[in-house]
């Protein structure tokens, strides 16, 4: 019993670690897409931020400068996306793909040019990383059965960015549903004409949305580089931006369900490693790859309308052009 509990706590921890960048990116995508801007480029922004954060951390040894740099780069990429989609009415998907490809090439090119390590950045020591934080009394309570274990083993001991991710969900929910900006954001994704005639600038509203998107993907990238890992490795985002996109769709463009989807996808990932080689009675050995592909398969099944209906914001991907 005790073992099962410890196992559960370990799995939960692994889930949270994997889910953190997904959560941040899903919230990022949510801001962008709720404003009507499709964002395929979560992956690229996160990867770019990871690279810059790792580089800055390696050079300066400061986590905070690293975080600032990661966020700044991601915001710049988001503004580029906005410039293409909002100012020039470009195709959102094309722009997102361009950013992803550009970043996946540029990070390696610059990495090699700057550090000569085959695209990796130099390893970053603990002083330049976001290290696990111990919540108050965690070690004192560790021996209390169940609740103590839960507190010290699960709630405590994550790094700041993990807590930030969960806070970001709450903040996203609050901003979207409880503030003036959120109301207008939801409106502009549904009917930009209504927003325009209400005397609000559609472009500025959308620019703000993509900047927030950049901010959150920047944090996600920083997490990858100097919290979850200790440096940048080429293509280290490894499709997580797309999984986050899938999770956001799975959550039907709403913060809390999207969080649920991120945790589910994170759990699948955490379990996949543990299930390697395990024989399930009656099914035989479950291929790890199947579990790894499940987020994608589930998203397709959802989009096909077999589990509820995922309805995107109505004006998503449509350039806003004034009409008489």
């Amino acid at each position: 019993m005790e073992d099962a509990f410890v196992f559960a706590v370990l799995t939960a921890n692994a889930t949270v670690r994997v889910a953190t960048p997904l959560i941040l990116c899903a919230m990022a995508g949510l801001f962008s897409e709720r404003s009507g801007i499709i964002d395929i480029g979560l992956e690229g922004k996160m990867l770019g931020a990871a690279f810059i954060a790792a580089s800055v951390a390696a050079v300066t040894g400061s986590v905070w400068l690293a975080l600032a740099a990661g966020v700044a780069l991601a915001v710049c990429l988001a503004l580029l996306h906005g410039f293409a989609c909002i100012t020039h009415n470009g195709n959102h998907v094309v722009s997102g793909v361009a950013i992803n490809i550009l970043v996946s090439g540029l990070t390696v090119v610059l990495g090699i040019a700057w550090f000569q390590r085959g695209g990796q950045t130099p390893g970053v020591g603990p002083e330049a990383r976001f290290m696990p934080l111990e919540l108050p009394l965690a070690s004192a309570l560790a021996d209390v059965p169940l609740l103590g274990t839960l507190y010290s083993g699960f709630l405590s001991g994550h790094n700041l960015l993990v807590y930030t991710a969960f806070f970001a969900v709450f903040a996203t929910w609050w901003v979207i549903y409880r503030t003036r900006f959120g109301l207008r954001l939801r409106a502009v994704g549904e009917n930009p004409h209504a927003v325009d005639t209400a005397g609000i600038s559609v472009a500025w509203l959308r620019y703000r949305a993509v900047m927030i998107c950049g901010l959150l993907t920047g944090i996600a990238g920083t997490y990858l580089a100097i919290a979850q890992n200790a440096g940048f490795v080429r293509d280290m985002s490894a499709g997580q931006g797309y999984i986050a996109l899938a999770a956001m769709i799975f959550g039907k463009w709403r913060p809390v369900p999207a969080l649920g989807a991120c945790l589910m996808f994170g759990l699948l990932d955490a379990v996949a490693i543990r299930l390697q080689g395990v024989v399930v009675p009656g099914l035989g050995e479950v291929p790890v790859q199947l579990i790894q592909a499940l987020p994608y398969i589930l998203t397709v099944v959802l989009l096909a309308g077999f589990i509820g209906k995922a309805v995107a914001p109505k004006a998503i991907g449509v350039p806003y052009v004034k009409e008489a």
Partner: protein, 528 residues
Amino acid sequence: MSTGDDRLTNDRAAVPSSPPPAIELHGISKSFGPVQANQNVSMTIAAGDIHGIVGENGAGKSTLMSILYGFYEADQGEIRVAGQSVNIASPDKAIAAGIGMVHQHFMLVDTFTVLENVMMGAESGVLLSGSITAARSELKRLEAEYDLYVDPKAVIEDLPVGELQRVEILKALYRGAKVLILDEPTGVLTPQETEQLFRILKALKAQGGTVILITHKLREIMAITDTVTVMRHGKVVASKTTAETSEAELAELMVGRKIRAELQRTEVAAGAVALRVGHLTVRDAYQVPRVDDVSFEIRAHEIVGVAGVSGNGQSELLEALSGILPVDDGLFEIGGRRITPNAPCDPAQLRALHLAHVPEDRQRLGMVGEFSARESAILGYHNDPLYQAGFMFNQVAIKAKCADLMTQFDVRPPLPEALSANLSGGNQQKLILARELNRAPDVLLVGQPTRGVDIGAIEFIHRQLIELRDRGCAILLVSVELEEIMALSDRILVMFEGRIVAELPAADADERSLGLLMANAAPVETAH
């Protein structure tokens, strides 16, 4: 200018303390590329008036109001609000100047509640909770003041059109509008809803508000406005005090001296039934019947006109009969084939039954703008063996056909390689007509054949339709131009809210009686 201005000047002279006009426009000009939408437009709208602006489609009314609302910026001219010269560069400036607008297409967020729509853009603070409380009490006040109630918690997509319009009016009032612009507000309303709207407008006036009503319906102008401005081809042609003018005078001013040669019609006895429609019902995505239990027949050598205010099911009728929309109930018969909900028929199969269709919306339905004229000239007939050479198109045959059609219908420029979108509206229409008429169809469905077409082309198109009828084609003509319906039809059906509410021989019809029938204001007469 004329009467309107004089009256105002007199007023001012008589009552020195009277307020300055609510809105003054001086020399407003606006062009979109080569199109001059507004040309040196000036008008004065007195505070507390209901002011009508009438004109045909494309006369520049909506553009002018969009300028006043800051949606477009004028190339030239000055706007004064309550005597102050203002620069209205964007809608928020217009709102700040006390101008509100109810657009023809409602500017509402479908997934939001009424309350959210009303307060969006005019929230009282950064947090919504305060705004919600404020908006709720303000809505209560407006309800009391103007007798204007909509459930604040209702979600927009669940509301009927009439209520949506009230939400739009509330939105404007919530923002403190003293001048309310309504762009074609009654096009989508039932007579009851229209009446209610007018009551609201009168209440506004009674509270000292100013209303600008854009419409092309003269009856409404006469019923509710104090003053009226007539626009034509982007210019103001007259400003009148409503009490001193008449529908007839306004109509003449609106259309100008559009002298039309009487159509030569020979009386031909109608032949066999070519299209029979029985209890046809077509529903929209929300299961609301758009065409509701409609039955009629058309015989060879006969043009049947469908009159009605647009949006009363005519478009859906055409699209159902041409196979674009599915039949939900009832049936129609053409060329010996019976089309029912269980035996549907797609547009290609219907064409094979010698049905041709000139759609209402030629740019969105009748052609592909990015296609060359040659390609648009075979749209719908592109599978004809005539145009094939093995697996490939027979380009020579297609080009020859297009050139032939262009010559016959005088499409200019007669270049098969021209981009369809680059042809003018009239030439696009002629090309589509040429294509559809070319096959000597047994049944022709034609919607708005002369919309946006210049006068010369109108006469040409009318002659072609008459000729086709004389040769034995059965024609169903849908048009919002009553004159056109009366000039061309042998028989007239009147559609209202998806139903056919009257059927009468063209000889018995006049504009007045049709107008009453279209508004479903008169007792339904069955004339035959």
